[in-house]
């Protein structure tokens, strides 16, 4: 949801109230934007005999969950966690936000906990952003996003940030896992296999030297 840009600084309680009202009024306007509740997904799985050789993308086997505002927050957070650099793209550029949506939308029990953590966490981080900067997380400047995430990533986060910090840790794990399992992410980490070839030569001399074996 887009918060008014000129909103005055609010205390936490007011911010919460504001968020609730905003959600409620938008829900009335546009069903698409309704924040999904954190209850478990009731979609169906792919079953014990799926077509393995096909290429799947998020949304192919069960419907996705994120509303547009949740999607925006996810994208932004993905890119704070894995930004682009000269060598490799950012997490959202390779669709990690869609993977996270697919993950939390899945009907399996192992993902149900994450569904709650992520959906509540996204709400929390927009509220916190509104409290600190009167904007949603996606609208913050890179410096503001960084400041907030740095607080969440601290080894001992402040007590009032505990919930946000637990969310951030899980979100980081999913983002990085999602990223390093894409072709671009694999390249970024230094995995260069999955290429058929006529022979296997063993480690190159530089690798052997690196560990004192040559």
């Amino acid at each position: 949801m887009s918060a008014p840009k000129d909103l005055p600084r609010m205390d936490r309680r007011t911010a919460l109230q504001w968020m609730l009202t905003a959600t409620a009024s938008m829900a009335a306007r546009d069903a698409q934007l309704v924040a999904a509740d954190a209850a478990s997904s009731n979609a169906k799985g792919y079953g014990p005999d799926p077509v393995m050789a096909k290429v799947y993308k998020p949304g192919d086997v069960w419907p996705l969950t994120f509303t547009e505002p949740q999607r925006r927050a996810t994208r932004a957070l993905c890119d704070v966690i894995i930004p682009a650099d000269a060598a490799s793209p950012s997490a959202s550029a390779v669709g990690v936000h869609d993977f996270i949506d697919e993950w939390i939308s899945s009907p399996y029990p192992a993902q149900a906990g994450d569904r709650r953590v992520i959906l509540e966490g996204l709400k929390w981080i927009d509220e916190e952003s509104a409290r600190r900067f009167s904007k949603t997380f996606a609208e913050l400047s890179p410096e503001q996003q960084l400041a907030l995430c740095t607080d969440l990533a601290a080894s001992k986060p402040k007590p009032e940030l505990k919930k946000g910090a637990a969310f951030f840790k899980r979100f980081r794990d999913l983002t990085a896992g999602g990223y390093y399992t894409t072709p671009e992410g694999m390249k970024a980490i230094g995995y260069v296999g999955n290429v058929p070839s006529g022979s296997f030569e063993g480690p190159p001399i530089e690798a052997l030297k690196h560990v004192g074996l040559a």
Binding site: Y46, P50, I81, I82, F200
Partner: protein, 603 residues
């Protein structure tokens, strides 16, 4: 692949085999190549390795990045369908609810069984493994020795194609000259462990796996395997010529569309079908072995899963190869006035003495690998090296507190990343808090490929606490009574796990590894559950004495002359070697005996 439907069943076959995995495949191959008419009943659907396996797909091409789900319990791309620890409509139970007393049962319900996704590790049992009672005063001596089975190990290895090296190890026998394919070069982690592990007494050699590293020798092997049988030679030569060697990419657990590694369907069943002597009936769930008036097996009743109707297949002999515990279940469910306690169970030993490999694992972060120059080390989709058991002298003197031994399998390498690839990165990088941003990318790259570990697999001798029986109440979706398991580790297994942990720790530390310490030192918590290594065998053990065993040395049941077992059920114990090569060698030997007996008119 030409399979039949129930309406195409012939009136009678020479042999009816239940199951198309390692044991059923080998049996069908041996018998049909020698001209017998054979039927395989297979509970799973047919499966085409060439079009259905996802060899080169990335995790990002699968739902949930390919992670495990209740529908695909080894991950999305794993070559298993309708299979798992839990199969809807096909339950089993445990007598005890305590996790440590639990047996977990993996079942594969597809053509080719578990050979579609097994690890292809093919180590021979050694001479000591067949004679635990002689050597340790414990367990049962098998009624055969290593020398009885050695020629069959050679034959199976030549047929399926096994790479490895002969290292002259005590109790890990060499293959005959010319049998093994060349071993692949070792990876950095394997070489590094080979050098530094010496300090901890680890002797690291090439492992043996059923993977072709070069084309099979179609000009000479068929004549060695089928002397004097021109038709069999021609069919086998053709099969060998159409298999490709490994192309050094992809995970073998996903199956191999180019047929570089062994699975039952493309290596055993394909030539068997080419003989014209084999019918395969998929979707046929065997329920009971039937008897004739003379007390001989007359065939098998099955449920045709496509129609739900019951059918019957007739044969002069019946071979059970449904996987060890599923075959036991068939025996126990085949009750008659002659066998009120289950077929071939006059000894009361059907279902007794189940064993599995004794296993635990430990891993470490190896700082020496940080910043490793980028290179491709996929290799042959699994380990190239292993740590064989060498402490024979110590445990012969009773110094270790357990019989037998264990070998160590590597988990190492710059493998294709999975969703968990950065697990533990914060503490690994010596970072307080949660890494993100540019620093995360840097650390992920620096530390990728530095995690390394070992999984142990060891000897388990039978004990009275590990057995299965028919659950008094529960039935599966076909109305067939299910199994109830009992499981008890003895001090031997727990002592072994303690030793495994200590030894792996020493090896990893000798490599400068930082152990990802398990908080718990209790072996009962560290040991993998019964059945979890998926090497479960026993339940119809072979022996020299019919009072205390179910089959003779030919895997032929004592009670019913024309009823044979071709999976792991006749194993008298689990060696520190993975069981499948031995299942195949025993099956080939059993099939030769069966044919002999038929020729002599005894069957």
């Amino acid at each position: 692949m030409p399979n039949i439907t129930s309406d195409k069943l012939q009136d009678s076959y020479d042999v009816v085999i239940v199951g198309s995995g390692a044991g059923g495949g080998q049996t069908a191959y041996t018998l049909t190549m020698e001209g017998l008419k054979v039927l395989i009943l297979e509970a799973g659907r047919s499966f085409d390795v060439q079009t259905e396996v996802a060899m080169l797909q990335l995790p990002s091409h699968a739902p949930l990045r390919g992670e495990k789900t209740p529908d695909k319990q080894y991950g999305f791309h794993d070559c298993s369908i309708n299979s798992g620890w839990d199969i809807p409509g096909e339950p089993y139970t445990n007598a005890s609810k305590a996790p440590v007393d639990e047996f977990r049962w993996w079942r594969q319900r597809m053509m080719g069984g578990r050979t579609n996704h097994w690890g292809r590790i093919t180590l021979r049992n050694g001479p000591y493994d067949f004679k635990p009672r002689t050597r340790f005063g414990l367990g049962f001596d098998w009624p055969i020795s290593y020398d009885d089975i050695a020629p069959y190990y050679d034959k199976v290895e030549m047929l399926i194609g096994v790479f490895g090296s002969n290292d002259g190890l005590e109790n890990s026998p060499d293959s005959s000259p010319g049998v093994l394919q060349p071993a692949p070069k070792l990876r950095v982690g394997e070489l590094y462990a080979q050098k530094h592990g010496k300090k901890a007494g680890a002797h690291i050699v090439s492992i043996h796996r059923a993977v072709l590293t070069q084309p099979q020798d179609a000009n000479t092997l068929p004549a060695k395997l089928h002397p004097g049988n021109a038709k069999a030679q021609a069919i086998l030569a053709d099969s060998m010529r159409t298999r490709s060697p490994c192309f050094w990419a992809t995970d073998c657990h996903r199956g191999c569309a180019i047929r570089a590694n062994y699975d039952s369907q493309t290596v055993h069943l394909r030539p068997a079908l080419a003989t014209g002597n084999l019918d395969i009936l998929p979707n046929a769930m065997a329920r009971e072995v039937t008897l004739d008036k003379k007390g001989r097996a007359s065939g098998v009743t099955f449920i045709d899963k496509t129609t739900g109707r019951e059918g019957h297949a007739k044969g002069r002999a019946v071979v059970l190869a449904a996987s060890s515990q599923e075959s036991v279940r068939l025996l126990l469910n085949s009750k008659s006035s002659a066998f009120p306690q289950g077929l071939a169970n006059s000894s009361g030993k059907v279902g007794k003495y189940i064993t599995d490999s004794v296993s635990s694992s430990l891993s470490a972060y190896i700082p020496a690998f940080e910043g490793m120059p980028i290179h491709n080390e996929d290799g042959a989709g699994g380990p190239h090296a292993y740590v064989p058991w060498t402490l024979h002298a110590q445990n012969a003197k009773g110094q270790l507190g357990f019989p037998g031994g264990y070998h160590l399998e590597f988990t190492t390498g710059r493998q294709m990343p999975s969703l968990n690839v950065i697990n533990g990165i914060d503490s690994r990088a010596g970072h307080d808090g949660v890494l993100f941003g540019a620093k995360l990318k840097e650390e992920a790259r620096r530390t990728y490929g530095c995690q390394m570990g070992f999984g142990a697999q060891g000897t388990m001798l039978p004990n009275d606490g590990c057995f299965t029986e028919i659950d008094p109440e529960l039935k599966d979706q076909w109305g067939i009574p299910v199994l109830r398991f009992h499981w008890k580790w003895t001090d031997f297994e727990l002592n072994q796990v303690r030793h495994q942990q200590q030894r792996i720790r020493e090896i990893l530390e000798a490599m400068g590894g930082r152990i990802s310490a398990k908080a718990d030192n209790d072996p009962a918590k560290l040991i993998r559950r019964g059945g979890e290594v998926i090497h479960e065998v026993g339940g119809a053990i072979m022996g020299a004495d019919r009072e205390i065993s179910v089959t003779n040395q030919w895997s032929q049941t004592w009670d019913v002359k024309n009823l044979f077992m071709a999976d792991g059920a006749p194993f008298a114990s689990t060696a520190d070697k993975n069981p499948t090569l031995t299942i195949m060698a025993l099956a080939w030997r059993m099939a030769d005996h069966l044919m002999d007996e038929m020729k002599k008119g005894n069957i």
